[in-house]
Amino acid sequence: MGGQKAEQKTPAQKAAADKTTMTGARILWECLEREGVKQVFGYPGGAILPVYDALRHSSIHHILVRHEQGATHMADGYARATGDVGVAIATSGPGATNMVTGIATAMLDSVPIVCITGQVGSKLLGSDAFQETDITGVTLPITKHNYLVTRADEIAHTVREAFYVAKSGRPGPVLIDITKDAQQSSCEFDWEAAAPKMRGYRPDLSPAKDAYDKALELIHAAKRPIILAGHGISVSGAEHEVQSFAERGSIPVAMTLLGLGHFPSTHVLNLGMMGMHGEAWVNTAIQEADLLIALGMRFDDRVTGNLKTYAPNAKKIHIDIDPSEINKNVKVDVALVGDLRKVLHELQPRMEMKDRRKWLEFVRNLKGDSAVRDIQNLPDNGHLYAAHVINDLWHETRDSETIVVTDVGQHQMWEAQYYKHDRPRSLITSGGLGTMGFALPAAIGAKVGCPASDVWVVAGDGGFQMTMAELATIVQENLKVNIAIINNGYLGMVRQWQEFFYERNYEATPLLSPDFKKLGEAYGIRSIICNKRGEVVPTIRAAREHNGPVLIDFQVEQEDTVYPMVAAGASLHEMIRRPSPIVETAGDE
């Protein structure tokens, strides 16, 4: 399984490598090491073979994936879990195009990854050579930036630029396409001379002085303010700043899906998730607010509902590092363009302490009968609901450093509703692109990046089957990843839309799955079936205690629905709630 691994280099050895002549392939590994890369996720092939051949000189650990999409999601999961740049490697042509979904996923969620692809020799470029694809052309609109490298002496500064671009400002994916002859030919390696010099790239923005004054005016005048907390908080590392900002102003905090965990859900000012499947009271509170303070979020359509009726009485302050997000969907009154942490450092000392008890009480009262409608509190009808599984998982794992990695669909929303995240980076999920198949590979990346954390995959039976080939990667790398398949026999979220909006015409949503237990066992993974509510906790405990990966097939209620729901295009306060018959059996009304 691979050649002998080179030892980590000493500083003296590193210095010795400087100004020596080596191949482009060796320069690539040398640069990756110096960028702090410890692991890469990849799949070899013809046009990238020189790079793989040079791997034996490097201390970097290569993780062989089963599909290049998996490599990109792993790099993505690694980056989201650690905050560092994740690296994926593939060959030209199909290897490169298989990365497209993962790159787009990272782009929409602003995740710093660097993808390296082999390319046919520079003389063959444009000739439709074997396994040639114009991957820089293909990925142009879904990368933050990309490069085609045709000479060995371009590799060092391209890699340094790529890492700098990927992680600075609003992070994003960067692709480097390297021709085979650039990997093979040699040149002098000079790390210092390769430092990024980028005239057209300035990620260090700061707001105008008077923008702060205007923002403070609005904050001080507000009686019913709400903070909308997004992914930008963790990107900027502003978790503490947001918390003390909220506390100083007694401002309740609503979170986007990717914002979950960046403000502790057990905090008294926490409201919960907003948007399409957000809590009803959170959305109502937003509609009632007189000031929205958006922190590192982008007013996605899943968050706002109908823009015409969105927060009609509220002034809006938008703090974001990307100026192109300002006034894109929602017209705001004050924009503070800059790094959230730095902006809050400026803003907060000038902010008056406020007591907004009346408003907080009003918001609390909005919860109304929500607890009664909550499926957790309905009498046990013998059925296992996905919400039970998630709720139990949260109870069982909340005390440890747990990272939950979800796929996309109903289970993702239930996870967001029932797993109460208290720590940043404890939820990894594909928000913007909504990529099914994301969970399993992203969890591998998270586990590789945070080996001390408990990593749980929560995936539906549909999405899991999209990338389940990576089970082999888990086994080959001997990773302790726990996998909870929320198996309801349907593409549940699509079925739910068919139920609500297409007259229950369940076209193409009933889903045949393999026997997941046998499947897991075929890979040598301990696998368990769980279909009773009372068995959930013991099963989770058994999985946690087992020394190795565990797959659990949670066979849950088939036609369950995620409530509440704001239909696409509806106003945020027009929510479909869990219907009354169930509520009546719960003794409500």
Partner: protein
Amino acid sequence: MLHTFIVYVENKPGVLSRVVSLFRRRAFNIDSLTVGRTEKPEVSRMTIVLDADQDQARRIVANVYKLVNVLLVDDVTAQPAIVRDLALIKVEATPESRSHVLELANVFRARVVDVAHDSLTIEITGTEDKIDSLLEVLRPLGLIEVVRTGQVAMRRGTKATVPVSKEKAAAVLDDENVSYSV
């Protein structure tokens, strides 16, 4: 309304396609686009004209700035600026109509750059309006072929187009502002 942007970009392969791809992706329809060299060999300059309202124009500037190879964006729509288009017009010119064509060219300060047996080729520079007007009066005489460069623009006054200060750039809500890359 039509907006005119001056965009300075690094003179590197693929940069034009990055800029054009951005307009396509964000669903903006380009009216005209010109690219050429500048006083600096490492810098190219584009003039882009497209239909957008004020809000869209602001977002275009912010989005173009996000491109790593873009050095400077200037929306000169509301600025005192010289905007010029160049056209070559091949028009039928029989012995009877030739003097009339020459007369019209003269009125528009256009130059005759090629003479053939029964046609004339006229070169004209000016605003779009002026060229449109010349084409209008030449049309009845028989247009054979027309090519136009699209507009190029430059601010009036001594100073070159310079980037606004970074702080001002980030104040996206001010009227004459632009914003910087991320």
